[in-house]
């Protein structure tokens, strides 16, 4: 069994597919909205050097990634240990050297990786136009606007993903998350630039 197959097997026997998916969406959404908030703040606030914006976004992205990984690892380790303990009590045997024991050790790591990488990767994608502009690459639009557009597209795609897994219309679900993002930007505008 290859690594991906093994990971799928362990997620399947612990029935944690849904948790991984939920963490990906929830924390990915967190990351995208945080970046949107910071960049909108810079757009409507006093003009700042692009490197300041990049550093602020990067700092927040790293913090979101580390926070996502550590919190998910701690909580999921406790959950998996409890589930393994319940199963051991029901089976009346030690399951540490079985697939269930391995799952109790590996699944928290997998969930922590997803929970940490989702906001980090989405944030890096949103920061990308700022980096490109900072590196001297000419962009067709202002880098802050390009980053905001990227954030809105990613939030819409997360909504589409949610719609597909929940079985509701993908367009409606995408528009719902997009509306939340636009409301966030409007709130930031009211507080910082209004």
């Amino acid at each position: 069994m290859n690594l991906l197959g093994k990971a799928r097997y362990l997620l399947r026997i612990t029935r944690t597919h849904g948790i991984v998916r939920r963490y990906f969406v929830v924390n990915g959404f967190d990351g995208a909205l945080t970046m949107l908030g910071i960049i909108t703040g810079f757009l409507f606030g006093a003009p700042a050097d692009l490197s300041v914006t990049i550093n602020a976004c990067l700092g927040a992205a790293i913090a979101l990634g580390v926070s996502g990984m550590s919190s998910a690892y701690v909580s999921e380790t406790a959950e998996r240990r409890r589930a393994l303990g319940d199963l051991e009590a029901a089976m009346a045997i030690d399951l540490l050297d079985t697939a269930h024991g391995e799952a109790a050790r590996v699944v928290p790591l997998l969930i922590a990786l997803v929970n940490g990488l989702a906001p980090l990767l989405l944030s890096l994608l949103i920061i990308l136009p700022l980096w490109l502009a900072h590196a001297g690459l000419p962009l067709p639009v202002d880098p802050l606007h390009a980053a905001i557009m990227t954030a809105l597209v990613l939030v819409f795609l997360l909504g589409v993903f949610l719609g597909r897994i929940s079985g509701i219309a993908w367009l409606r679900s995408g528009l719902q998350t997009l509306l939340i993002a636009l409301l966030t930007a409007a709130l930031v505008y009211l507080v910082t630039g209004g």
Partner: protein, 91 residues
Amino acid sequence: MVSVKRIILDVLKPHQPNALEFSRAIASVGNDYRVTLTVLEVDENTETLQVVVSGDAIDYEAVQSAISDMGGSIHSIDEVEVQSAASSRVL
């Protein structure tokens, strides 16, 4: 040389892996294993099964190891069919 042709096991296992995956894993231990799995009882966290494994020469230790790896536990060997090499020559 005595070969094990068929064994019937009473097994307790967690709900996951499911019956299909569990049977496949046992069958994959040998080249010609045929596995029949019957769920006898379902509890909150476990299932009691009757597992019938048939094949030309069943490696019981390998079957036991496959079951243990998936978190299962063999409670008893309920039926065994073995055949000696001499009798197979006669057949």
